[in-house]
């Protein structure tokens, strides 16, 4: 279980101090939780704080009761935190198989590595030996990024806008990927998303706006409120 206790994050800008996150308190134990909210509301920052990329200005983070607040990205990864970037990273020279192996933490057979790529709708043999360089489209990189998270199979998997840059066909596939993960996961998946169809796969939806949790509850309940409210509707259509 993930527990966030009074998490705040403040940055210094030209206009002075700016609070990105204000006293966030959350417990996440469900299989699939979606975090949504307007752009700039603090969702990605929250995911980066959980994964250790950013350090909170104040507050505590616990994973299965252990305080991980001061742990590095590497230490958190070793304890079972995975993070899929919104903008996947390119690597000259490293192949898809290299990255899948690193994610799995062991050398996989080609068949094993291909299984993870097939899960995200990629024709595995066409991709397995390709470099993660500029020759791959943003959508392809995104799916490879998700395959890496599946290969890790950790207790907490964070996805920052997995739908960004993915075409409609791939998006339908993406929904299926999360539905399958939802069934199989031994832990929690946290998806940051604006897409109603992705939000519908969640057990619970948390709305983060202006650095605060403004709503939190069962999927149907929160989604119904959002769809009934014009400003919240905008949140769902912002990136569609």
């Amino acid at each position: 279980m993930l527990k966030l206790e009074n998490i705040s994050f403040t940055v210094n800008s030209d206009e002075g101090e700016r609070d990105i996150l204000k006293n966030i308190n959350l417990e996440i134990d469900e299989r699939l939780v979606a975090i949504t909210g307007p752009n700039g509301g603090g969702k990605s920052t929250l995911a980066k704080i959980i994964s250790g990329i950013y350090t909170p200005t104040s507050g505590k983070i616990y994973l299965d009761g252990e305080d991980i607040t001061n742990m590095s990205v590497t230490e958190r990864a070793k304890r079972g935190v995975s993070f899929a970037f919104q903008q996947p990273v390119r690597f000259k020279g490293l192949t898809v198989k290299d990255l899948i192996n690193l994610a799995a933490g062991k050398k996989l057979t080609v068949a094993e590595a291909c299984k993870y790529l097939s899960e995200v709708g990629l024709c595995a043999h066409e991709y397995i030996n390709r470099e993660l360089n500029a020759s791959l489209s943003g959508g392809e990189l995104k799916r490879i990024e998700i395959a890496m998270i599946i290969a890790r199979g950790t207790k907490l998997s964070l996805f920052d806008e997995p739908e960004a840059g993915i075409d409609l066909w791939s998006f339908n596939n993406l929904i299926s990927v999360f539905e399958r993960m939802h069934e199989k996961i031994h832990g929690s998946i946290v998806i940051i998303s604006h897409q109603e169809r992705l939000l519908k796969t969640a057990d619970r939806i948390i709305v983060v706006a202006n650095g605060e949790v403004t709503d939190d509850g069962a999927c149907d309940e929160v989604l119904a409120k959002m769809l009934a409210s014009p400003p919240a509707c905008k949140v769902l259509t912002d990136k569609m």
Binding site: T74, G93, L94
Partner: protein
Amino acid sequence: MNTTEKMLLEEIADLHKVPEGAYNIRANGRLDSRSTTANIDIVTKTDKPGIDIIIAPNTKNESVHIPVIISESGLTDLVYNDFYVGENADVTIIAGCGIHNCGDQESGHDGIHSFHLAKNARVRYVEKHVGDGDGNGKNVMNPTTVIELAEGARLEMQTTQIRGIDSTVRVTNATLDKDASLVIRESLMTHGEQYAKTDFTVDLNGENAGADVVSRSVARDKSRQLFISKINGNTKCSGHTECDAIIMDGASVSAVPELTANHIDASLIHEAAIGKIAGEQLIKLMTLGLSEAEAEEQIINGFLK
């Protein structure tokens, strides 16, 4: 050969035992062993140090190993190796030099290789340079490669130098005839106060000749690198040269690509990029459980692969 020499041989030419096919192993300036085949002859030069490797026309699926080992401190070995590859031959040539210098004196190897590929011949050439030793003597290598490709010939050249060479000046000059193609992939890493200079010159003289010259390098510590690549398009042809370098610590890298088109249908491109390892690359690998040092190593190994 002693254990150190055998280890060097394994590293530069992947040789665990006597290779199959033709080979010429040179150790400390002298012939160590040699074997020829019905299609590949190796002849000692009489006017200067070195060998002629003569590959018969239509030779297919054969290989030649010509590694050089230097384990005597203070030895500078100059050798001329000339390859004559017959029409329609298709072979692999594995070269390389390993220096183990435990003394205080400079050890060096200046290998001057010339490739003469006849019509439609194809060669895959792999060259690896490695240095080690715990003495104060410097390891110096200055390879020169001269390439002449006749009509339709193709040379794929892969060169690697990733450790232990204190100073190197690597010169490659190529001339290509009609429909000939040249592919060069260079991987280079320098440490400490090492210096490496690469100097490619390619003349595309025949119609539809093509050259693709790519160098990937990593400069660490206080090392210095200079990459020069000149492609001259003298007819309808295509040429691409690329220098991609990762710079670390207090190193210095210069890239000087130069294209000259002497014909309206010469299509020439150059790319050069020098930069440090991107922070997001390190963080991505750290989110997979690697430490920062392990992530850096993976990125560099992949880049130079």
